[in-house]
């Protein structure tokens, strides 16, 4: 299944609707469905927020496939080169309420829930691949 999106804010809703369909059709495990929503919500939000210059129209696609064991995701966008796994500082998980900052948490959710994750830049596209356990 491929979900085609733009860099408009409303793409988050379209992504979630697309994921609902994919999760239902393939009867994904509850936890896998939740992790899939979380990872893609965070990654798409970053691309929409930072991937394109103001006013630029961007295209983003999310390709999904699954079997009994795995959920595999390929997310492509034609925005500025950006490796989310290298260029985002890790959150300080031990800071107390007063000092705690929210930065970096979205990508941290992806790297801590996905079993595999990778980034490459190819043909002027950012390509992020994820593998999640279907459990």
């Amino acid at each position: 299944m491929i979900i085609e999106l733009t860099n408009a804010r409303s793409s988050i809703d379209r992504l979630m609707e697309g994921l609902d369909g994919f999760i239902d059709e393939n009867k994904l495990a509850d936890k896998a469905g939740h992790q899939l929503r979380l990872c893609l919500d965070e990654l798409l939000t970053n691309v929409i927020s930072y991937g394109f210059d103001d006013g630029a129209e961007g295209r983003i696609s999310v390709e999904l496939e699954t079997d009994d064991k795995d959920v595999r995701v390929v997310m492509r966008d034609d925005g500025k080169p950006f490796n989310p796994f290298e260029e985002t500082a890790a959150p300080d998980l031990d800071a107390d309420v007063g000092d705690r900052d929210i930065g970096g948490l979205g990508v941290f959710f992806v790297t801590s829930t996905a079993r595999e994750y990778s980034y490459e830049r190819e043909n002027d596209q950012n390509i992020v691949r994820l593998a999640l356990n279907n459990e």
């Binding site: 804010r9 988050i12 809703d13 936890k31 929503r37 919500d41 031990d94 007063g98 705690r100 941290f108």
Partner: protein, 110 residues
């Protein structure tokens, strides 16, 4: 998203319904800001929230920080297993008051 509120024993209870993703987190933020104007004791009941992202946690943290600065009280309750996972991953479960149910949340900040 829809956010209901009620006051019990001097605590303002906020009950959002639906997913808190990066799009709907703004609605929760508006409701939290209104609640912060009205009360310095707030319970966020997440029983009707099946999903929360980092955008939602940002709003939760904002609420916790404001109330801490005012010496107020803040507690959460009603977290599903999936939502609790997100609080644990983020470390928020160590720094916030998370109660089993609404009554326990209210008594934790009374």
């Amino acid at each position: 998203m829809n956010v209901e509120s009620e006051t019990i024993d001097g605590a303002l209870i906020l009950v959002p319904s639906g997913r808190v993703d990066s799009n709907s987190a703004g609605d929760l933020e508006s409701a939290v800001r209104d609640a912060l104007e009205a009360s310095d004791k707030i319970v966020l009941d997440l029983a009707k929230v099946p999903y929360i992202s980092s955008a939602g946690l940002r709003v939760v943290l904002l609420c916790a920080k404001e109330l801490k600065a005012k010496n107020g009280g803040f507690a959460l309750c009603g977290l599903s297993e999936n939502v609790m996972d997100v609080f644990q991953l983020s470390g928020f479960s160590n720094i916030l008051e998370i109660a089993d149910d609404r009554a326990a949340a209210i008594s934790a900040i009374s």
